[in-house]
């Protein structure tokens, strides 16, 4: 049985998610609100469900890695992008998507796919702590960090789950661009 969550406590957790602007853990919410970790967990589940059901709001609450974040629904993100500049160029996002899918991956293999710009991309992505390079025997292997799912608001953290997610997103992307193409005509 799910225990009833008081409106007041729910609003407190909601206000923390709103104010943070970045993914926060159950523990952090617990510290800020004085609620127990278990209670916070229950409230978060309920809030996510409620936001998902609300048709008339532009925001959503999602699990991002092991944390939770309030963000603009993807459908509205583009129109408000003017107000908040994106940090990563589409080129950088492509490189990151390659790494995310093929991780752990050798830098030389990436270079073969996307050329010399890879070196610069790897530097920027490392400095943003989205990827890390680790020595594996004689080779530098590139992998994602745990910030990756947090940064992009993914509910998955395992490499194979991230792969599945990317495959699906790419497919949706293609369907979407097909749709856009035909609308333009």
């Amino acid at each position: 049985m799910v225990s009833t969550v008081g409106t007041h406590e729910k609003q407190i957790v909601e206000s923390v998610l709103f104010s943070a602007g970045h993914p926060v853990s159950c523990k952090e919410i617990g510290i800020a609100t004085g609620l127990s970790g278990q209670k916070v967990h229950g409230i978060l589940r309920q809030l996510m469900k409620e936001y998902a059901e609300k048709k008339d709001t532009a925001m959503e609450i999602v699990k991002a890695g092991d944390k939770y974040v309030m963000q603009v629904k993807e459908a509205f993100a583009e129109s408000s992008m003017m107000i908040a500049e994106p940090e990563l160029s589409s080129d950088l996002l492509k490189t990151l998507s390659l790494i995310a899918f093929h991780q752990p991956v050798k830098q030389s293999n990436l270079r073969r796919l996307s050329g010399e710009k890879i070196y610069e991309h790897v530097d920027i992505l490392s400095s943003l702590k989205l990827i890390q390079t680790k020595k594996h025997r004689q080779t530098e292997m590139i992998t994602l960090t745990k910030h990756f799912p947090e940064y992009f608001g993914l509910d998955v953290t395992k490499p194979e789950d991230i792969r599945t997610y990317l495959m699906e997103k790419l497919a949706q992307n293609v369907v979407k661009s097909t749709h856009d193409d035909s609308k333009e005509r």
Binding site: F18, S19, A20, G21, H22, V69, M70, Q71, V72, E74, F76, A77, S80, M81, A84, P86, E87, L88, S90, L93, K94, L96, S97, L98, A100, F101, H102, V105, K106, N109, R112, L113, S114, Y151, F152, G153, R163, L166, M167, K169, L170, A171, N173, V174, V175, S177, T178, H179, D181, S182
Partner: protein, 290 residues
């Protein structure tokens, strides 16, 4: 007429591969393709219900319409054309990715088996193409191939930055006070460390001067350093060139001055530098500590 010709070529191509393949599944798949191809030729693909069938049909149709040589498909241009068609036909693009992969497998079969049989010689191409990729290390599965190919051919990446709240808050007074408390402790520690470093430096200077004892310059070294230091301090500006301090044509004086400067630099009383290395003018700048 042309299209029938190519059509037969494609069928021959598939049948040829069928004869090369031992694996039952692959062989039956090719038989299936031949059936499909015939339907395609009859223009039936539009009515096909299964998206996978439909997409294969489109692939074959494309090969025929574009008069591509099935023995020599340029996979890069094929993929590009195919994706365009797939978009127009609104087929599931994951399936499309798989089709491209299959085409690539066919191509791989060609290169693996036929290069030897047909003694088909290829000049190495400078431009890197899909078929040149070393796939033994990676891109070894269908999904990897499809994903990578789609990603590189499509304009948009599969991930985008979510839009979140720009929430920078002001620092509170309490935080400033805490910072002050910490800064105080840290700067005490920093000063203690600096003092320790300074003492270590002085010990080193004494030691290094001692090492000079017994050399030809032993008697004059301390006096030389003091002399050069006096000259530097009496100069009207805090920056000067080496020629301001000595007659650089007098080799002995030049060396005496340079050695003294190196000691002064070591003691962090001056900075010695060149703007152009290695033949540029040598400059000296006092570091403001006496």
């Amino acid at each position: 007429m042309d299209s029938i010709l190519v059509d037969n070529e494609v069928i021959h191509h598939l049948l040829f591969h069928k004869s090369l393949i031992d694996d039952y599944n692959d062989a039956s798949r090719i038989t299936y393709y031949v059936d499909l191809l015939e339907k395609t030729h009859e223009g039936n693909h539009v009515n096909m219900q299964d998206p996978f069938d439909r997409s294969i049909a489109i692939a074959f149709e494309l090969v025929m319409q574009q008069h591509l040589n099935p023995w020599d498909i340029d996979l890069v241009s094929f993929s590009t054309m195919y994706l365009k068609r797939a978009r127009e036909e609104r087929i599931d693009l994951i399936t499309a990715g798989r089709i491209i992969h299959m085409a690539w497998m066919v191509l791989k079969l060609q290169s693996d088996d036929l290069v030897v049989t047909l003694q088909h010689e290829q000049q190495p191409d400078d431009q890197l193409e899909w078929s040149d990729l070393d796939t033994s290390m990676w891109l070894s599965s269908e999904d990897e191939y499809s994903y990578t190919n789609l990603l590189l051919n499509l304009p948009d990446p599969p991930i985008g930055e979510p839009l979140r709240r720009q929430s920078k808050r002001k620092v509170t007074l309490i935080e400033l006070l805490d910072a002050f408390d910490e800064a105080r402790k840290e700067s005490l520690l920093f000063q203690q460390m600096e003092q320790a470093r300074k003492e270590a430096r002085e010990r080193l200077i004494v030691a290094s001067r001692k090492r000079m004892i017994g050399t030809a310059h032993e008697d004059n070294l301390e006096a030389d350093i003091d002399l050069v230091w006096d000259k530097i301090n009496s100069f009207p500006s805090d920056q000067m060139s080496l020629s301001d301090l000595c007659d650089i044509k007098d080799k002995e004086e030049l060396i005496r001055t340079l050695v003294s400067l190196l000691f002064l630099a070591y003691e962090q009383k001056v900075k010695v530098f060149q703007r152009q290395f290695p033949y540029g003018k040598i400059f000296i700048k006092t570091l403001g500590c006496t």
